[in-house]
């Protein structure tokens, strides 16, 4: 089997996505949720760059990757702001107790 670096990178994407989703499924702490989201987004960035290499359109995917990184940083910032404020007002960071918006 001829495993090239591209395959390794794609395996890495799958692995990180798996870790990220498992974390989202099992964590109850709001800050940990944001951390897992960050892991997922890093996997996505790696995937984008790898796709850019495969198709030869590296510059377009680099631009997209920059946009994605900016977006996910903003998400982290807002998420942290939420965590701080919720901790102050509600007193807990447990996502199970934060469901006042019940269906």
């Amino acid at each position: 089997m001829n495993i090239s670096p591209i395959n390794i990178c794609l395996l890495g994407v799958i692995g990180l996505v798996a870790v990220g989703f498992y974390g989202l499924l099992t964590t109850r702490n709001l800050i940990k949720v944001v951390i897992m989201l960050q892991i997922l987004v890093k996997a996505a960035v790696l995937g984008l760059i790898t796709a850019g290499i495969i198709s030869g359109q590296l510059y377009i995917t680099q631009s997209m990757a920059i946009t994605v990184i900016v977006a996910d940083t903003i998400v982290a910032v807002i998420g942290m702001a939420f965590a701080i404020q919720i901790r102050r007002q509600v007193g807990t960071l447990d996502t199970n107790e934060l469901s006042s918006l019940r269906g």
Binding site: F21, L25, V33, T95, S99, L101, R102
Partner: protein, 582 residues
């Protein structure tokens, strides 16, 4: 030019809705003004669109390969619907200036009414089945929101939900039909479907025909899905006039009329339409006869008259059905708006507590009589020409038992209309004195509609001409107005029905001597008052839907982990499907 007019007809009311919401409830005069001016402008643009009808799409918005192309085809079937929606809509809005005076939620009211008007116009003009379904759903939503407008009244809310569930179940029929058509023919365009309808496999065509019929029955409140319409009278009266008499309930008639050439060869379809029409005409008339609430009586009358239109489509007289649609919209809106003038003036909806209003509300009495003339079908009013035309076509092209049923309906119509007029306007007053005889803006709308009752039949020639030009599949042949009038007046069917009408009115006037027969009919009346068991059927449908939604509610936990589980679960299902597909 036509594209611009189409955009105006649909878009102006929507822009008006937005503007009314933005001006806020602190400036009610401005809201009234905006709503009236914009709806009148939209009405004018719809009328001008009549000069630009064609059977080719004038506006096409490609929406990608999934949704097809959203086209707008202003053929006369659709433009008629748009004109009725906009013109009657503008008159209802003008009426609301006085009816809704002092209400604190004007913004919501006007916005919903204008949103509805635009969507109704769009329903008629759209040439793509998916776009038509979109507008259909918008009208259903606006109807629900307006029925439960007084949302602190539990009866109104229950009525709104009932109307929503029943009409939406019909809407499923329309969606399923649209999807089937797309999967077999490859396009959502109505014109393409009509041209290639014969190429569909036979059982698919049958399924399609009955799906569309179900959607039409639910929307037009025909038997057996009719119980939502009388309950929907909890809405403010201008809303009842607009939505539940003149426009939304016509959408079902429009649907069967438009797709008639495609489905007329399906065995049993035209007969079903005919039977549904006849049953609704008779049932509606019977229930109007025993109704005590003025608006409910008018609602049952609407069901009955829509039955006439369905009957006309069933025998193949498309032009007759559309002509009666036009007449009915005008005179029924007139009658409802009169009710809207009477009910706040005397403070009750119960006809048994009215009476003698002929002397105290002369203006409203006059226009109500004009509307009743049209409803009964006496000469000079537009209802005469359209109803007699339907009966004549039914006599020539339909089975004789259906014709006799419809004739019976005509007599019953005369009977219940006489009863209504008498209970409200004649006799001694059983209740309070009315506080006004129709305020200024109410009188404006009522006068306009009354004039319409006497004049719209003159448009018959123009209408049939346009139909012959712009409906390539329907095979309507043009006929001039006076030719039509002559034909109607001279037809034997007309004389028979006038005799039946006279019989009906006579029975009412002579009801004291005929009291013996009335006592015989009393048990029958009690069965009719219990709505013949249809109420249980419809309530059963509502209860099943509500229980289903309550059960599904359990899956919305609001917990993050479960939601992520849903996402990951879906992902694995998709991957598994792809894997199996490979």
């Amino acid at each position: 030019m036509a594209a611009f007019l189409v955009l105006l007809t649909i878009g102006l009311p929507w822009i008006g809705a937005l503007l009314v919401l933005l001006t806020g409830n602190e400036r009610p005069k401005l809201q009234h003004a905006i709503a009236s001016i914009i709806s009148v402008a939209a009405g004018i643009s719809a009328i001008v669109l009549l000069w630009f009808t064609s059977d080719q799409p004038v506006l096409s918005i490609p929406m990608g390969s999934v949704f097809g192309v959203f086209t707008f085809v202003p053929d006369v079937l659709g433009v008629l619907l748009a004109v009725i929606a906009n013109v009657v809509g503008s008159l209802a809005v003008i009426f609301s200036i006085d009816y809704m005076k002092g209400n604190e939620q004007l913004g919501r009211y006007y916005a919903l009414v204008m949103f509805f008007i635009g969507a109704m116009a769009g329903l008629g003009i759209s040439g793509s089945l998916l776009l038509m379904f979109l507008f259909w759903e918008i009208t259903a939503f606006c109807s629900y929101a307006l029925i439960s407008f007084h949302n602190d009244d539990p009866k109104a809310v229950a009525a709104g939900i009932k109307a929503l569930i029943i009409t939406q179940l019909g809407g499923i029929g329309l969606l399923v039909g649209a999807l089937i058509i797309n999967s077999f023919i490859g396009s959502y365009q109505i014109s393409v479907f009509m041209a290639e309808a014969e190429s569909l496999p036979f059982n698919v065509l049958v399924l399609l025909a009955f799906c569309f019929l179900a959607a039409a029955i639910a929307k037009s409140a025909q038997v057996p899905l009719h119980t939502w319409l009388p309950d929907a009278m909890e809405a403010p009266t201008p809303v009842s006039a607009l939505i539940h008499a003149a426009t939304m309930v016509n959408a079902g008639v429009y649907l069967v009329a438009r797709f008639f050439p495609a489905f007329e060869d399906v065995p049993g379809w035209t007969t079903s339409v005919l039977v549904v029409g006849m049953l609704s005409a008779l049932l509606g008339a019977l229930m109007a006869l025993v109704a005590a609430d003025l608006k409910r009586a008018l609602a049952y009358s609407t069901i009955s008259q829509l039955g006439y239109m369905f009957f006309a489509v069933g025998v193949g007289a498309i032009f007759a059905s559309q002509f009666h649609l036009l007449s009915h919209a005008i005179f029924k809106a007139l009658l409802f708006l009169c009710a809207g003038a009477v009910i706040p003036a005397v403070g009750t909806r119960d006809m048994r507590q009215m009476g003698g209003l002929r002397k105290t509300m002369p203006f409203v009495f006059t226009v109500f009589i004009i509307g009743s003339l049209a409803l009964v079908g006496l000469p000079v009013a537009n209802g005469f020409f359209s109803k007699e035309f339907i009966l004549e076509e039914g006599f020539i092209y339909g089975p004789i038992w259906a014709y006799i049923g419809m004739l019976l309906g005509v007599g019953l119509t005369a009977l219940y209309v006489s009863r209504m007029v008498f209970m409200v306007f004649y006799g001694e007053s059983h209740g309070d004195e009315p506080i006004h005889d129709g305020l200024f803006w109410m009188r404006v709308s009522l006068t306009a509609l009354a004039i319409g009752v006497f004049t719209t039949w003159l448009l018959a020639g123009v209408l049939s001409d346009l139909m012959a030009q712009t409906l390539p599949f329907h095979g309507v042949h043009a006929i001039g107005t006076f030719e039509l009038a002559k034909e109607i007046i001279l037809a034997p069917a007309t004389w028979i029905s006038i005799a039946v009408i006279a019989l009906g009115i006579g029975i009412w006037i002579l009801r004291e001597p005929l009291a013996g027969i009335k006592n015989l009919m009393r048990p029958v009346a009690r069965i009719i008052e219990n709505r013949l068991g249809f109420e249980q059927l419809n309530q059963g449908i509502i209860n099943v839907t509500k229980n289903l939604t309550a059960a599904l509610h359990l899956t919305q936990t609001g917990q993050l982990n479960w939601n992520i589980l849903g996402i990951v679960g879906m992902l694995s299902v998709l991957l598994a499907l792809l894997f199996i597909g490979v």
